[in-house]
């Protein structure tokens, strides 16, 4: 196999889809988790239980739901999004948002109430307060982002269903591995798997280095 243009294309699409999904998911999930961690309101327990449940959503189920939504005969069929990279991004957003929300929630809750009180007493508006606490809980949230990224990029069931594994169009690393394996090219599948592993390794190294630096300067 080696790094032929086709392989690069697949790797690039994987990165593009997952990175976009993580960015969008973070935009929703992190503030949501932080708000849940900071404010109480009726029904909060239920929302938290729901989020924790959704953290373990089987990807294939997410795939089926998104598929049915986007299908030509489904409610959003007119958008013509099925079997496009956008559909894969959507499925991954659904997949990672609860993870990001749940892990942000626990990261924010792990920060003592004193941080919350300090920010409030200094005159933070509700929005500024959320922002400050998220910034303060950034290490825990980064870990959440890394976990979500790993889960999204290595996921295969949902992207296969809604993306369709179309060559040059929606074929990503995991679906390519499945295809290679089904065609009996175990070696090619394994090589692609190694690329996947390498990317996860690089990505997590960046995160770990970042967190370690934080720890070094943060400790007395």
């Amino acid at each position: 196999m080696l790094m032929t243009p086709e392989v690069w294309e697949v790797v690039w699409l994987s990165l593009k889809v997952t990175t976009t999904a993580i960015l969008l998911g973070s935009l929703i999930g992190i503030p949501l988790g932080a708000c849940l961690g900071l404010y109480s309101f009726p029904g909060k327990r239920l929302v938290i239980v729901l989020i924790y449940t959704c953290m373990g959503l089987p990807p294939v189920l997410v795939g089926v739901i998104v598929y049915l939504l986007l299908s030509r005969y489904g409610p959003l069929g007119s958008l013509g999004l099925l079997f496009t990279p956008e559909a894969m991004m959507l499925a991954q957003v659904v997949l990672v948002t609860p993870i990001l929300a749940g892990l942000s929630l626990s990261a924010v809750q792990a920060k003592e109430r004193a941080y919350w009180e300090t920010a409030k007493s200094l005159g933070a508006s509700p929005l500024q307060l959320v922002f400050t606490i998220v910034k303060e809980a950034r290490k825990g949230i980064w870990a959440g982002v890394a976990a979500a990224y790993g889960r999204a990029i290595s996921e295969v069931g949902a992207v296969m269903l809604v993306g369709g594994n179309i060559e040059h169009h929606t074929r990503v690393m995991t679906t390519a591995i499945i295809l290679e394996t089904r065609m009996g090219n175990f070696t090619a599948g394994l090589q692609m798997g190694l690329v996947l592993l390498l990317i996860s390794f690089l990505f997590n190294s960046f995160l770990v280095i970042g967190v370690l630096n934080q720890l070094k300067t943060g400790r007395r």
Binding site: M160, N165, I166, E167, A176, G184, F186
Partner: protein
């Protein structure tokens, strides 16, 4: 590659087993015997262990073979009828690995299957000529359809041959979904393109890299044409219509081959004989009549 894994896992497993079986006995014996004697016994017991499974195969594990086949035989339900009949008759259990033809053949090459039931004549012949298989038989054939949207935008219905239909689709650049997974159906499709002297390329030609069911679904969603086997097509309720059938190049013969390196040649042969024999051929011919009004496979047993 796969063989390496298997042997690696086997090694790890046997190590674990050895450790588990050794420790308790060592613990109970150490109170009665001096430690030196205990050690000796443990090491002496070890070489005997691998011998144990060898004495057993005739009783249990020999009565089990692995069939590597294409998803179509499994998905159509044919095996659900054939295998119980065979198992009842012979007492041999069949484990089915349903994969693409490419992977099925690879499983045979690696010795991970005992019998292949596949449909890609060229790959089958290669498999035999390379010395991986013996006793190859024709078993049956089924039909391929070219299916597409009801309004037939490429006018493929007017074509007289499959190659002509493909040429019309390519000319109109009507969307076409290829399986692109090196399966028997995929190989058939590629051969028809070759027959039409065309290289399909462009936005209209999509390679799904998925199974037949998923590919049909995708064709339905995208209002596209595709090549499908009869069984999968009939078992799905979709808005796709048949635009071409019956052409000689749309026939799809299945072959059954014994893997040369199999450790159970007799059982494998029994299985092949059942499929190509009178009883098996009858079941094949009857299969699907009750549900679809016509048989999905046409029996055609013949030694190659």
């Amino acid at each position: 590659m796969k063989r390496l894994y298997v042997s690696f896992f086997a090694a790890v497993l046997s190590l674990l087993l050895a450790a588990c079986s050794q420790e308790p006995s060592a613990a109970t014996q150490s109170s009665q015997q001096p430690p030196a004697g205990n050690q000796q016994q443990a090491t002496a017991a070890e070489p005997r262990q691998p011998a144990a499974p060898e004495s057993k195969p005739s009783e249990s594990s020999a009565k089990e073979i692995v069939l590597a086949t294409t998803t179509s035989t499994q998905d159509s339900g044919l095996l659900d009828v054939m295998l119980p009949a065979f198992e009842q008759k012979s007492g041999i259990k069949v484990k089915v690995v349903a994969v693409g033809t490419g992977q099925a053949i690879k499983l045979g090459e690696d010795g991970n299957a005992d019998v292949l039931l596949v449909h890609s004549r060229k790959a089958e012949d290669e498999f035999v000529s390379k010395g991986f298989g013996t006793d190859a038989y024709d078993v049956m054939y089924n039909q391929f359809y070219i299916v597409g949207p009801a309004d037939d935008p490429a006018g493929a219905k007017t074509a007289k041959t499959a190659a002509e239909a493909f040429a019309l689709i390519a000319e109109k650049k009507a969307p076409f979904i290829s399986r692109g997974d090196d399966s028997g159906t995929d190989k058939k499709e590629k051969s028809i393109w070759k027959e039409a002297k065309l290289t399909p390329e462009g936005d209209w030609y999509l390679s799904s890299g998925q199974g037949m069911g998923a590919t049909l679904q995708m064709a339905d969603e995208k209002n596209a044409y595709t090549l499908t086997d009869e069984a999968t097509y009939l078992s799905r309720k979709l808005n796709l219509q048949v635009v071409m059938q019956g052409d000689q190049s749309l026939l799809n013969p299945y072959g059954i081959i014994k893997v040369k390196s199999t450790s159970k040649p007799d059982e494998a042969m029994q299985f092949i004989q059942f499929f190509t024999g009178e009883e098996g051929q009858k079941i094949i011919g009857e299969f699907g009549k009750d549900k679809y009004g016509k048989g999905l496979f046409v029996p055609s047993a013949k030694k190659r």
